[in-house]
């Protein structure tokens, strides 16, 4: 066990998988010599060399397109897109090929690649560096969309993503990269994709969140308990898609109330699917409308205004209170 930041934990995941499995290669812009602009691939090139830790030309479609070829051949490419805000350059390759080659070849080929990208706001970044658009990938058949919420699950999920036989988009909450440390076991640890976790048990309301929002939600849940005597159950999705909704349904059946939190724009965002699943599976248990605490349907603001854009503990607490009053 070592206390690690999420950056270190992700680095460990790649390092250990590369040691174990020579099919695993890392590619992206500045992932080699520089170790990634956030240092997530730090020093991998020293251990594994230029052939396995590949500094690519500046072309995202090129990165994913070549990774698809490598994956088809039998490698396990882990691609870094420098910021999720630039992942739209890969959209056609992902949608048309990574997610479909298994189907198109009727099972002859599959595309076990991982697209890692830091996502989300709260770090006073430039334009395009704070977006949260996991819904695009979640709505795309044939790809899994994973978002960890802490160093330990980040490491375990990334290992699972690398081993997964199908493409995985892995968004890393950059606000949590160095926000806190957690014990991470030295020995191998995985977490199954497609399985949410109960981050906190409670009976009064269910809060569903993921990624960087988890820290705020946990803060809000503490305060709700301490100051207002409200016991919130918190579910951390971990895998956004394919969305496993039984745990949510069970929780809502118990609490009768739910609040969904994400930083992505509200409309047509991930929260909408969660609301719909709740309606489909636990409508008759619901005592109040499900609330969505989210980013707004606008361009993500620059740093002077971003704190007003982002959900925060206060907004979450107020939403829970309203839901309980309703």
């Amino acid at each position: 066990m070592t206390k690690m930041t999420m950056v270190e934990a992700l680095n460990l995941a790649m390092r250990q998988e590369m040691e174990k499995d020579d099919r695993v290669v890392v590619l992206g812009e500045d992932v080699g010599v520089d170790g990634g602009v956030f240092r997530v691939t730090d020093a991998l090139i020293k251990t594994f060399g230029e052939e396995r830790v590949v500094d690519t030309p500046l072309a995202e479609s090129g990165i994913i397109g070549t990774a698809i070829g490598m994956a088809v051949y039998g490698l396990r490419p882990v691609c870094e897109i420098q910021f999720s805000g630039f992942s739209y350059y890969i959209f056609h390759q992902l949608e048309a090929h990574a997610t479909r080659l298994r189907h198109r070849s009727q099972g002859r080929f599959h595309v076990p690649l991982v697209v890692r990208a830091p996502y989300g706001g709260g770090v006073r970044a430039l334009e395009h560096h704070s977006e949260s658009r996991e819904a695009y990938y979640a709505h795309t058949p044939g790809v899994k969309m994973v978002i960890p919420s802490g160093p330990r699950n980040a490491r375990a999920l990334l290992v699972s993503a690398i081993r997964d036989p199908d493409p995985v988009v892995f968004f890393e909450p950059k606000a949590l990269y160095r926000a806190f440390r957690e014990e991470v076991p030295d020995e191998e640890e995985t977490l199954p994709l497609g399985q949410p976790r109960i981050a906190r048990e409670g009976e009064d309301v269910t809060i569903i969140a993921y990624g960087a929002m988890m820290a705020l939600v946990m803060e809000a849940a503490e305060e709700l308990q301490e100051k207002h005597g409200i016991a919130a159950e918190v579910i951390d999705l971990l895998t956004i898609s394919p969305l496993e909704d039984d745990m949510i349904a069970d929780s809502v059946k118990k609490t009768g109330r739910a609040v969904v939190v994400h930083e992505a724009p509200r409309s047509f965002g991930p929260g909408a699917e969660i609301v719909s699943r709740i309606i489909e599976k636990s409508f008759y248990y619901l005592e109040a409308p499900v609330k969505r605490i989210t980013g707004y349907d606008i361009v993500y603001p620059l740093s002077a205004r971003e704190k007003y854009y982002m959900p925060d503990a206060g907004k979450i607490i107020r939403a829970v209170q309203e839901t309980l009053k309703a």
């Binding site: 397109g65 070549t66 070829g69 088809v72 090929h97 298994r102 189907h103 198109r104 099972g107 036989p165």
Partner: protein
């Protein structure tokens, strides 16, 4: 402190060996074994006849829309004939003949364009990617496969096909650029058939040739007469050998012509003249290759006649087998296969929903 020319390592060449009339430039003539020459001829002819028959089937609505290859037989076979079975091939959507050469069963073509995913299956052992419809996107996969081959220290090469239109897509350049930087063992074959649906080559790019696009990425590029199977073969052989021996990628512009429709949904009369098509029909790759073979004493008119009969029978057999398979009940639930290695719970649920729907539909049908 000059204004001086920068010397570039590559110049763009044009290669032609066997002309429209069947005359051959013996100095450049590649050394192809007779059996291979005859096999190439048979497959060219078979490809032409199959294509004609497919047009027929489509017109009778027995299959859906498909892209004919008429006129591009030499351009495909001359290239792909240089590959070994362990090499890889990454086609676009107008390389049916190259796929057949590599071992794809012709039935699968009919199944695929008949609307059955099963026709897209790639048999174990055939190292080809399936048809790729999004224009320009597949060449990057070839480059990645080449990078993996290099990583695995294998002696294989990758050949990828695409059209003149595809060279306008950014992904084409990203592919050439990655191939250059990583010296990926790829042979890029642009089948410049002069048209991208209704857009002529001249409106596709201001460049004089497609071949010169290689220069942007520091690669050798060559233009060949794509209706001259000897030239295509010779240029590709050079490129394949270069790639195999670690010399990196090459761009080959195969200058050819789509004698038929873009797809069966297309009406070329809207955008090109009959004269142009007639002029190009004179450059048909098949008659000139037949003249060459006859002049070499390898082929007679009689043998051609026999071949035609043989091919007609083969094609009929293929059509029969394919239609039989298409008449068999399709399992609708098959659409859930191959989404993921394992169906996740939400898809299991959707599949069950569909099963339920199907049973209701059956019930309703039985009520009618």
């Amino acid at each position: 402190m000059p204004r001086s020319e920068i010397e570039l390592p590559y110049r763009v060449e044009y290669l032609s060996i066997l002309d429209e009339k069947g005359h051959v430039d013996t100095a450049l003539e590649p050394d192809i074994p007779d059996v291979l020459l005859l096999k190439l001829h048979k497959e060219m002819l078979a490809g032409r006849r199959f294509d004609e028959r497919m047009l027929n089937l489509q017109r009778q609505e027995r299959i859906g829309t498909f892209p004919p290859i008429k006129g591009q037989e030499a351009s495909q076979l001359g290239a792909v004939a240089n590959l070994k079975a362990s090499d890889w091939m990454v086609p676009a959507f107008r390389e049916a003949l190259a796929e057949f050469w590599r071992g794809k069963p012709k039935e699968n073509f009919i199944l695929f364009y008949g609307g059955y995913e099963e026709g897209g299956a790639v048999e174990e052992g055939r190292n080809d990617l399936p048809v790729s419809i999004p224009v320009g996107s597949q060449m990057l996969h070839a480059v990645g496969i080449g990078m993996a081959i290099k990583y695995r220290r294998q002696p294989d090469v990758v050949m990828t096909f695409f059209g003149d239109g595809a060279t306008s897509e950014g992904d084409f350049h990203e592919a050439l650029n990655f191939a250059g930087v990583f010296q990926s063992p790829v042979v890029f074959i642009c089948q410049n058939n002069q048209w991208a649906i209704s857009v002529p080559r001249s409106k596709q790019t201001h460049a004089k040739t497609i071949a010169q696009k290689a220069l942007a990425h520091g690669l050798p590029g060559i233009q060949v007469d794509g209706n001259d199977i000897l030239a295509v073969y010779a240029a590709t052989r050079e490129a394949v050998e270069r790639a195999r021996s670690g010399g990196g990628p090459t761009l080959i512009e195969s200058f050819t012509y789509r004698l038929s429709l873009h797809t069966t949904a297309d009406d070329p009369k809207k955008y090109r003249s009959e004269e142009e098509v007639k002029e190009w029909a004179k450059k048909d790759p098949i008659p000139r290759f037949q003249t060459y073979l006859k002049n070499k004493g390898l082929l007679s008119d009689e043998e051609i006649g026999q071949l035609e009969t043989e091919i007609a029978e083969e094609v009929q057999g293929v059509v029969d087998r394919a239609e039989k398979r298409m008449q068999e009940e399709v399992d609708p639930l098959g659409m859930f296969d191959h989404t993921f290695a394992e169906l996740p719970p939400s898809l299991i649920q959707q599949r069950q929903e569909m099963e339920h729907e199907l049973s209701l539909m059956q019930e309703e049908a039985s009520h009618d």
